[in-house]
């Protein structure tokens, strides 16, 4: 097993997440894409932790922090989506343009 395999996999997952973040029109799918991005970053951290720092494992510590932040982000993001849905009666990202023009 090599470090590069994991890094390439994380890069692929990150690109898929970016694609979903930009192109999807459902607000909840945007939240899911953000989770994909955070997971790919986690995979990077864990790979570095195992291959470059196997005794100190600081990468695992950072991964635990990122998981914490991701849980908080999911809760607040879903609350925002619910609030927007209640006010505008849609979850279409193309119609959330209150601050745009």
């Amino acid at each position: 097993m090599q470090l590069q395999y994991f890094l390439l996999l994380a890069a692929a997952l990150f690109c898929i997440g970016i694609y979903g973040l930009v192109t999807s029109r459902n607000a909840i799918r945007v939240l899911m894409s953000i989770e994909l991005l955070l997971n790919s970053v986690n995979l990077n951290l864990m790979a570095f932790s195992n291959f470059l720092d196997p005794q100190g494992i600081r990468g695992q510590v950072f991964t635990v922090f990122v998981i914490t932040i991701a849980a908080a982000e999911a809760a607040v993001g879903l609350a925002i989506v619910l609030s927007i849905y209640r006010n505008r009666d849609t979850v279409d990202m193309e119609q959330f343009n209150l601050l745009k023009w």
């Binding site: 989770e35 994909l36 609350a79």
Partner: protein
């Protein structure tokens, strides 16, 4: 390549195929419920990757937090916002998608070039394996103490913020009894009538 390496490689390939396929499904499928369940599959295969990387504790935390909390939360969100709406097609949407795909492929090419060209300083020390829990605990209470405590404050802030954002505004009682006495009150929550901002004003 001995037997253990072969097993590791095969399980890595299986997990990678599961992860990429499920992630593509999350992004590309049109039914959002399928996307949410495939997101759970992505999380589970990510946990398998963590086990391959000698991190059992973080793998368990990944299952508990992501599959058990975040994914369930997203499913609840989908159920609360469950509205079958056909999005109004915007013109030239395919230009948008093709441009994004090109940018993402370029980003992937850039990242993989960087990954393959960099001489990584691979450490030869043996991984500490199951002692990782002890080591993580030591890190949390010595050199990462301040971020650890800040994370708890942040979780409290996120919890209160989510409640404040998502709760409904209730009318006070006397207003309800004076104005809305004639309406059927069974099975309806006393809620302020929302005024919809018209979502397509143009």
């Amino acid at each position: 390549m001995n037997l253990a390496d072969g097993v590791q490689l095969v399980s890595f390939l299986v997990l990678a195929a599961m992860m990429i396929g499920a992630a593509l499904g999350v992004v590309l499928l049109s039914n959002i419920v399928y996307s949410a369940f495939l997101l759970g599959l992505v999380f589970i295969s990510m946990s398998g990757m963590y086990i391959l990387l000698n991190a059992g504790f973080v793998a368990a935390a990944q299952i508990l937090i992501y599959v058990g909390a975040v994914n369930v939360l997203i499913l609840f969100g989908i159920m609360l916002v469950n509205k079958r709406e056909d999005f109004v097609p915007i013109k030239n949407a395919w230009v948008n998608q093709v441009a994004t795909a090109v940018v993402c492929l370029g980003l992937f090419a850039l990242l993989s070039t960087m990954v393959l060209a960099t001489p990584w300083a691979i450490s030869s020390a043996t991984p500490i394996g199951d002692m990782a829990i002890v080591e993580i605990g030591k890190h949390f209470f010595s050199d990462y103490l301040l971020p650890f405590e800040l994370a708890s404050v942040l979780l409290l802030m996120a919890m209160i913020g989510a409640i404040v954002l998502a709760r409904r505004d209730y009318l006070p009682d006397e207003l309800l009894t004076s104005e809305r006495r004639d309406e059927p009150s069974a099975l309806t929550l006393p809620e302020r009538p929302r005024e919809l901002i018209s979502s397509n004003k143009k």
